[in-house]
């Protein structure tokens, strides 16, 4: 009785979630980093919420980008280190299903967590509550796309010494459109203008990336495994 791709997907997601929740400190660290980076800006700029509000979308997004990058390094690293990545590559399901499952699970515990914490950060930066829906939607789409870009980068750099610096170097330029559209969406919402345009672009980017990135990430892992 062979195992279908959907079952395999569910099994891998369950595996990833179980592994993540057995190390709760590693789950929390990127979130704390997110909060710390956000705190740096008022300290460096101004404590006036009215002034912070202007910078808030950008600050929020930069902080989200940086903390996502921190956690992306571990996407494949642990499996590559203990040899289980090879077992996954040889399980007969094809690496693509595995990669999709791992990246999705990773997003659930990192990207989604960021989205859920964002109202707290938003309030600290002076973003009005009425904008939270747009902000969270843009962050959700953005972090999902970023997880996929990061999966490609992680696939390429896993196993390299100091691969995490190279990972950021590779992923950040690719993530710049995300930053532009995501911050613009929140910014326009704050100004009272419709954020629909920016959100549509963000969604298009997300769909495009989620469709093509799995294959690129799988190819990257095949290169690494050789």
């Amino acid at each position: 009785m062979s195992v279908g791709p959907c079952e395999a997907f569910a099994l891998v997601v369950r595996r990833e979630l179980r592994l993540s929740f057995r190390r709760p400190d590693q789950l929390l660290q990127p979130l704390v980093f997110f909060l710390i980076v956000t705190t740096l800006f008022p300290l460096g700029l101004s404590l006036q919420l009215s002034l912070l509000r202007d910078m808030a979308p950008g600050v929020l997004w930069v902080a989200a980008l940086l903390s996502s990058l921190l956690s992306l390094d571990s996407l494949f690293k642990s499996d590559a280190d203990d040899g289980t990545l090879e077992q996954l590559a040889l399980c007969g399901q094809g690496l693509t299903v595995i990669v999709v499952a791992k990246t999705f699970a990773h997003w659930l515990v990192s990207g989604l967590a960021l989205v859920l914490v964002s109202p707290v950060v938003g309030t600290a930066l002076g973003i009005p509550g009425s904008v939270f829906a747009t902000m969270m939607l843009s962050l959700g789409l953005g972090t999902l796309t970023l997880s996929w870009l990061g999966a490609i980068g992680a696939g390429l750099t896993v196993g390299l010494k100091r691969g995490n610096v190279l990972l950021s170097l590779i992923v950040l330029p690719l993530a710049m459109p995300l930053l532009i559209f995501g911050a613009a969406a929140t910014d326009r919402a704050i100004s009272g203008v419709s954020a629909a345009g920016a959100l549509y672009f963000l969604a298009a980017l997300c769909v495009f990336t989620c469709t093509l990135a799995p294959f690129a990430a799988t190819a990257a892992l095949h290169i690494t495994l050789e």
């Binding site: 099994l11 499996d79 077992q87 590559a89 399980c91 007969g92 050789e226």
Partner: protein, 209 residues
């Protein structure tokens, strides 16, 4: 020597790692019921050969065939038919032995916890089933890895230094497992640098530098 249409065939495989010519035209065949011992000094490419056979590494020249077909063409089938054990036991430290087996074997075939526990029992680590892998000793981890190979119920076993960290009892156990696997129609390729003495006929391929 007749080449079996069934089974594994490796033909004149060449692999370069940077400037080093690691594998120089290696060929072998492995039909069902056969055991092959690949030996050789360090650095002669034994692990590389195994990875080429698994399909993880593409050779620059030569090919690997399963049932007459190149493995790149029948990847899904081929992977379903093989069980690979690398030099490391490949266990997640945070998962229990049973969970490790479940997530590894469960991707190949539907398997019940009972079956997995039976495999762990067979390799003598039934008591470790609910312990996280990181608290197990090296020998126990190796036995869990053996249980994983057993539970996969795959016809082709590709084992890289499987006797590492095994005590005398464990070594005997693995020999018996190989024996019954071959008797049941399975085949196995074992990379090991030590001498292997088996009751059953075991062919040998010596790799030289």
């Amino acid at each position: 020597m007749s080449t079996p249409v069934d089974g594994l065939r490796v033909e004149k495989v060449h692999v370069w790692r940077g400037d080093r010519h690691v594998l120089k035209g290696v060929s072998l065949t492995l039909a069902s019921g056969q055991l092959l011992h690949v030996s050789g000094p360090n650095g002669t490419g034994k692990t590389t050969l195994l990875r080429v056979i698994c399909g993880l590494l593409r050779p620059e020249q030569g090919g690997v065939y399963w049932g007459g077909q190149p493995i790149s063409g029948v990847r899904g089938e081929y992977q379903a038919a093989l069980a690979y054990a690398s030099h490391e036991p490949a266990l997640k430290g945070d998962l229990t032995a049973l969970e490790n087996l479940r997530f590894a074997v469960g991707l190949k075939r539907r398997v019940s916890p009972g079956e997995l526990r039976a495999s762990l029992e067979h390799t003598g680590v039934a008591g470790c089933a609910d312990l996280p892998a990181r608290v197990l000793s090296a020998g126990q981890r190796r036995r869990v890895a053996m249980a994983r190979v057993l539970a996969m119920k795959a016809p082709l076993w590709l084992l890289d230094e499987p006797f590492t960290n095994l005590d005398a009892a464990g070594t005997r156990l693995l020999m018996e497992m190989l024996q019954s696997h071959a008797e049941g129609g399975g085949s196995a390729l074992v990379v090991a640098h030590q001498e292997l003495v088996m009751a059953r006929d075991m062919r040998r391929l010596e790799l030289t530098a």
